[in-house]
């Protein structure tokens, strides 16, 4: 390729220009202009996001981008959150850390989601990267407080330690609580999220830590930190912007007044979460800061009922994000719609997900109210027990700016409760009116028709979740052939089989991944797909033993297909089968 443009600018100039370009899409585009731009870009890329850790290998990454400072990796598919991916499936980060430890000595940030990270890797991180600043472990597992102690002890420049929703094993350490491993001269903490820890926290270590870190903005405590201790912490850190409380089941007037005093000094506080087992009386302590709040997460606050929730949200005029249990009920959502005109995101979680009868007065009406009253609402996750096409149409017309719409009607295949018809038309209205919709989760009684609508209108759709829906392969075909921007598709318990999958094989290379469980895809089709498409890993996850001990037409339990440039992975457990498996040869 003739180098024309590149040779007229010194590399330093181009590099400087590129430093203003941050988005991956844009950097990818720059790198295709010519060979010299490709080279300059790859040497200057500092931030890399790998959406599927098996799509590329550490070696390939390091070869192309030799000086990465911020690495983000995602591992298991989303349905792993709901126990659909068996233990031991994979997503091991150890090889990545090992490779990075020698290739990227200046690495500053590691963000992982749904990955398995052992204590050894945490220790390696703490000792390999002198300038390490940010560690975010989202829904991860495989490590213990030992690993955290190593991070605390060795990462002198640590700013952020965020364990959001990870599973951490608590080991009784003779060397003292892991928090006390932060050295006395360590003062750079900005963000600490330990909300997921089940174990006790050394309060003295915590208090000293909070007291000596003047830049602390975010502090999410775990259940074990009682409210009376919270006031002490707040006195030490009045500059906090985001706070997650612990639990407080007994209402004590002295604790409440201390809390009121402490909160009144926190002029910057904008985000609240936690509230496990909190006596509702403590909420009055929160009222003074309500008008400043932009984010409120009460989704673990099982002791706070509708009337208290209404009083609370009615004072949060600047609220942008609310996560709450369905205790808020339709009435509470009406109050929300009336008071919180700046609301952008709403998530309503079920207080009794396995109950057969509704335990709260929350219906489709609550969501309709919010869609009417909150003009900026664009992101919704809503669990309920009844829905109607009318309501969905109204929501769609009210909120054409919707970008994420996830509706979970708890009972599978529930029809429109007014007409007893399917909810095809309602969801059809959503995709038709909401032209910027990027994420959609379906539920209720749905036929192939809804997929026709989605294929026709869902042109910007990037992620689709489907459960207990559809009649035939036509449904899957509509999705795969119509949704041009689809990246992630996850399906469970639908009558989708071989035909649509094989007919749209090429589409799968344009997507990050496809998950199908309890559907009708045969092992024969999986083998064929794997053979036809070498750039895809077709993983059959089946715990019943070798697939060829059953007829080839027998449907597989689970199927995970993803595009990759690094070929079949080498760490597959015994229950994952690919086209190369042949039990007769004794391979596994």
């Amino acid at each position: 390729m003739k180098m024309m443009m590149g040779s007229s600018f010194p590399e330093e100039v181009l590099e400087h220009v590129f430093s203003f370009i941050e988005r991956d899409k844009d950097r990818n585009a720059i790198s295709t202009v010519c060979q010299s731009w490709y080279e300059i870009e790859r040497w200057s890329r500092r931030r890399v996001f790998v959406g599927n850790c098996y799509a590329v290998s550490p070696a390939i990454l390091i070869k192309r981008f030799p000086d990465v400072r911020c690495l983000e990796l995602k591992g298991k598919p989303h349905f792993a959150d709901f126990n659909l991916v068996p233990e031991g499936w994979g997503a091991y980060v150890a090889p990545w850390i090992a490779a990075a430890s020698s290739a990227y000595p200046w690495l500053e940030e590691i963000r992982l989601k749904r990955m398995v990270i052992p204590d050894d890797s945490l220790e390696l991180i703490s000792k390999s990267f002198k300038n390490f600043k940010v560690l975010v472990l989202s829904s991860c597992e495989g490590f213990s407080t030992e690993g955290l102690a190593a991070i605390a002890a060795n990462c002198r420049n640590l700013r952020e330690l965020d364990l959001r929703e990870s599973e951490v094993e608590d080991l009784n350490q003779s060397s003292g609580h892991w928090l006390s491993h932060f050295p006395d001269n360590y003062t750079s903490l900005v963000s600490l999220n330990i909300a997921c820890l089940n174990s006790e926290v050394s309060f003295t270590a915590l208090e000293r830590l909070v007291g000596r870190c003047p830049n602390l903005r975010t502090l999410r405590l775990n259940r074990a930190v009682p409210l009376d201790r919270l006031a002490i912490l707040l006195h030490r850190a009045p500059q906090l912007v985001e706070l997650g409380t612990g639990e407080a089941s007994d209402l004590r007037p002295d604790v409440l007044s201390n809390l009121l005093g402490a909160f009144s000094r926190c002029k910057e506080l904008k985000s609240l979460s936690g509230f496990w087992d909190v006596a509702p009386g403590y909420l009055t302590g929160v009222y003074p800061i309500c008008p400043r709040l932009t984010s409120l997460n009460l989704s673990y606050a099982a002791t706070i009922q509708s009337s208290d929730l209404i009083k609370l949200v009615s004072q949060c005029q600047n609220l942008q994000k609310l996560w709450v249990l369905d205790y808020i009920e339709d009435l509470g959502l009406e109050a929300l719609a009336a008071s919180c005109k700046d609301l952008r995101e709403l998530r309503v979680f079920p207080s009794e997900p396995f109950g057969v009868e509704p335990n709260v007065l929350l219906t489709e009406q609550g969501l309709v109210s919010v869609s009417e009253g909150c003009p900026k609402l664009h992101s919704v996750l809503y669990f309920c027990r009844q829905m109607s096409n009318d309501a969905l149409r109204t929501i769609a017309r009210n909120r054409p700016n919707m970008t994420r719409f996830r509706l979970c009607i708890i009972e599978p295949r529930t029809p429109d409760y007014l007409t007893l018809e399917s909810l095809d038309m309602g969801f059809g209205a959503i995709v038709e009116h909401c032209n910027d919709l990027r994420r959609l989760s379906l539920s209720g009684l749905l036929t192939d028709r809804v997929f026709e609508y989605i294929g026709t209108y869902g042109k910007k759709l990037e992620m689709l979740s489907v459960a207990f829906a559809g009649d035939s392969d036509l449904g899957l075909h509509h999705i795969l052939s119509g949704c041009e921007n689809l990246r992630k598709l996850e399906i469970r318990d639908c009558p989708f089989g071989d035909k649509a999958l094989l007919a749209n094989a090429a589409k799968l290379e344009t997507m990050r991944s496809l998950w199908m469980s309890s559907c009708s895809v045969s092992f024969g089709a999986c083998k064929l797909l794997g053979q036809k498409m070498p750039m895809l890993n077709v993983e059959v996850i089946d715990e019943r033993g070798p697939p060829d001990s059953r007829p080839e037409s027998c449907p597989v339990e689970k199927l995970y297909i993803y595009r990759t440039v690094s070929g079949p992975r080498l760490d597959m457990p015994g229950f994952v089968w690919t086209k190369d498996e042949d039990s007769a040869l004794g391979l596994s």
């Binding site: 349905f79 959150d81 599973e167 459960a467 009649d471 318990d493 009708s520 059953r550 027998c554 229950f575």
Partner: protein
């Protein structure tokens, strides 16, 4: 997807059946519920006194092929109860993360391993109120096993090869004990992981009752 489930209407199925024998519901295994207004007890499971072969097999995978159906020999239950069983055991539905499932209670997840099976399972001990409920749930999870009620001992057996398993657990001090020795609450507090050990290998563990003292201390 099974033709059985294709036109599934929840109300008609539940009302039409006599649920005396097998009171299976939508609850998680072992979760006890309030009695509804109609007097239907929700969430109850059959007692241990009825030693029934529960071999449920992989109930949420359907084979259309007749040959394939025959191979799922484990499915001994009849059609109607089978669909209720599937309903009761819908894994991962509704899609609520484990940390949210029982907002009221704290969760206590431990890993369960079975000798000879390459896969682990995780159970939340807080969901059960007794050893019976736990063993019953384990039986559901490792569907090749049945519970044999023999001389008041709760053992698990794989009828396919007659291998007997004994439930053991590792406590906070790192010792391996037989499940069932201590009061339930104490067990929940101290249990770190559970292993279904082959009976033949379980010699040498802390004896269950004085009469069953093993030869080694």
């Amino acid at each position: 997807m099974s033709p059985e489930n294709r036109n599934y209407m929840p109300e008609s199925d539940v009302v039409g059946l006599n649920l005396k024998e097998t009171e299976l519901t939508l609850g998680m295994p072992g979760e006890t519920r309030v009695t509804t207004d109609t007097g239907v007890k929700l969430g109850t499971k059959r007692g241990f006194s009825e030693t029934i072969d529960l071999n449920l097999g992989r109930s949420n995978v359907k084979c259309h092929d007749k040959v394939c159906d025959d191979e799922l020999e484990n499915d001994v239950l009849g059609g109607a109860t089978k669909s209720l069983t599937e309903k009761a055991q819908l894994v991962g539905w509704p899609p609520v993360r484990a940390s949210r499932k029982n907002v009221m209670k704290s969760c206590k997840f431990i890993k369960v391993a079975v000798d000879g099976a390459p896969y682990l399972r995780k159970v939340d001990l807080e969901m059960y109120n007794s050893y019976q409920q736990l063993l019953s749930a384990l039986e559901d999870m490792f569907s090749c096993l049945t519970i044999r009620n023999y001389l008041n001992e709760k053992k698990l057996m794989d009828p396919a090869n007659g291998v007997e398993y004994v439930a053991t657990y590792e406590d906070r001090d790192g010792d391996w004990m037989l499940v069932g020795d201590v009061p339930w609450k104490m067990f929940v507090e101290s249990c770190k992981r559970v292993r279904l050990m082959k009976s033949s290998e379980a010699i040498g563990l802390a004896p269950r009752t004085p009469q069953k003292c093993s030869s080694t201390a």
